[in-house]
Structure formats: C-alpha cells, structure tokens
Amino acid sequence: MSKRRRLGKLRGFTIQFIPFSEIRTLDSDERIKKVLGIILGNNILIIQGRLKPEEETRLIGDTMAMIGHVKNFKGVELAVIEGDKNGGLYGKMRQGIANAIAGSDTSSTTIIGPATIVKEIKRNPKKIELMLE
C-alpha cells in the first residue's frame, strides 16, 4: 500500500533521451531553448554528449532568470559524466577523432532535471545517482 503511494508521487514526469545527432546542427541559442523546453515540461533529460562550457553556464544563467517568473520552477539539477579518460594514447586518439567528427564529446552523458523532481544528483567520476523528490 505504502509502496503504491510512493510510486504515485513519481507520476507526472518522463525521462527523455536525446542523441547528439539531434542537437549537433543547432546553435547555442537553439540548444538551450530545446533543453529548457524539455525541462519545463517536467521531464528529466539525458543527452548523449555534453554541451559546450559556455552553453552550460548560459543554461545556468537562463535557469536563474526563470526562477520566480515560471510558476513552481526552482532551477535544475545538472550532471555530466565523462567517458573513459584512461584509455591509453591510442584510445585517446580514437576518441579525439570521434569527438572531432561528432562535434562534441559523445562519450560523455549529460543529465538535466528540474529541481522540483530531482532533489539531488550525487556523482563520482563513474556513477551518477538521481535522488528524486
């Protein structure tokens, strides 16, 4: 019974996955707009790859500007888990070439969720744990 009630709390959001190919051709404005559009729809977003550093700060800035203006919006939880950096020289070269072709570090994964759903993202170099509200 209590289990059912707890699961009931989790209704109302989905997890969306975006392959990098879907944002590769977008400029920074469009990428941020797309990300925020998904987050504001109460979704947890998983992106293959990662945003550029300036896009990550821009996302934080835009998020801050929305707090107080969008009802019940408190910001986001964000985490990037990086791919294997210890793959040796050959591995790094291979990854470097793959990144250059893809236009991003596609071995990374980015997780972004609205703070109303994601309480905390605990992370260490190899693991991400999502603590839900």
Binding site: I60, G61, M64, G75, V76, L78, V80, A115
Partner: protein
C-alpha cells in the same frame, strides 16, 4: 611603411606599459558557502586591514559582486596589485524554502532567493573580465559537483588561469586529496580562510598563477 612599423612599435610599447600598471583582476568563484568572501576578507585584512564583505552560515550571503581595488599583496620581496572581485556563489537551483530552515521569515526568504538568482547571473557575466580566478571549494564536500566542473570548464575555455583553493581544511572531514583527484590538471592548495592556515602557500600559488595571465 617604415613609419607604420615604428608607429605600431611605439603603440604596443605604450600599451604594455599602461597594461602593466593595471590591477590584476582576481576573481573568487565557486558554489555558495564555500568560503569565497572569507578568503577575500582574509586577503584584504592581511594587506589592507579591512574586510570586503559579510559572511554567514546561511547560503547566498553574497548576492552582488563586491570589489576591493588596489590591494597590494606582498610575498617574498615581490609585490603585486590586485583588484579583488568577490562573486556570489553559483548554483543551479535556488528555493526560498531552503532559507526558511535558518529561521528566516517567508518574505525575507523570498527576497533573498530573488537577489541570489540575480547574483548568479552577475557572477557568470563577470567571468570573462577576470585576469586570474581562484575557485574556492569546500574541502569537506564532494568536489564532483557540476557547478565546480562547469565553472572550471568555462575558465579553461576562456584560457583564464585557475587556482583551486580547497577551503575549510581546519574541519575534520576535509579531504584535499579528493579535490586534487577531481581536478588533476590544476594547482590545488588547501587552506582555512577562517583560521588563516596555509595562507603563505596560497600566496605563493597565487603569484605563480599571475605569471600565466595574458
């Protein structure tokens, strides 16, 4: 042609002379409650006798960018003049209800949250103006916080030299090695801004950092 070359030479020479007279813009960045203002206060007190801002246990005490110009820091017969820029803590979420836990009234908590969001925006805007940056982290917290990674990634992308100050090493849970492991490409110095522990090492690292500045 010759006149142009000579003109450019003198122009560059004068630019360099005046550039060297500018204060080095030293920014303090990091998440809320890491001790940015405490460190800026410690430096200001050591060299000017005055503090730069108020500190508090409640997060987001610094909600606007604070400056202190012409801070002359002396270390081993060397002197450098800095403009200290203490920035509000960068966060990805701000909820006024978090401030209620510290006994704040709802109205004050809402006001604080509103000011804190603007503070984060201002901190981000100021990044590109910095010559060198000290990223202040709480050595007792998990360094793999995305805010730390995003700030440092941004500074690296802009080629702004970074020194990581792992603060609060006077506390039991402090783990500098964990901070060093999280950011192996950067110079990490463990300090306690509150007690002044290891500040000599900090100043040494700061002087080394200025050499990397463009």
């Amino acid at each position: 042609m010759v006149v142009k070359v000579v003109k450019n030479f003198f122009k560059r020479m004068f630019e360099n002379i005046f550039k060297s007279k500018d204060d080095i813009k030293l920014g303090f960045y990091g998440p809320p409650n890491a001790g940015k203002t405490s460190l800026a206060n410690r430096i200001c007190k050591d060299f000017t006798g005055e503090e730069i801002g108020k500190v508090s246990k409640i997060p987001h005490e610094t909600r606007s960018v604070q400056f202190r110009e012409k801070v002359e820091i002396a270390y081993k017969n060397k002197k450098l003049t800095f403009k200290l820029v203490d920035t509000p803590g960068i966060a990805t979420k701000i909820d006024y209800e978090d401030f209620l836990k510290y006994g704040m009234k709802k109205k004050d908590a809402r006001k604080r949250a509103k000011e804190a969001t603007q503070g984060v925006i201002d901190s981000i805007k100021w990044i590109e103006d910095m010559d060198v940056v000290v990223v202040v982290l709480d050595a007792n917290e998990n360094p793999y916080n995305q805010v730390n990674i995003t700030i440092i990634g941004n500074l690296a992308a802009r080629e702004i030299p970074v020194l990581i100050a792992a603060n609060k090493i006077d506390l039991k849970k402090a783990d500098i090695k964990k901070v060093e492991a999280a950011f192996p490409e950067y110079d990490v110095v463990g300090i306690s801004a509150r007690t002044g522990k290891n500040m000599e090492e900090f100043y040494e690292s700061l002087f080394k950092l200025t050499k990397k500045s463009k």
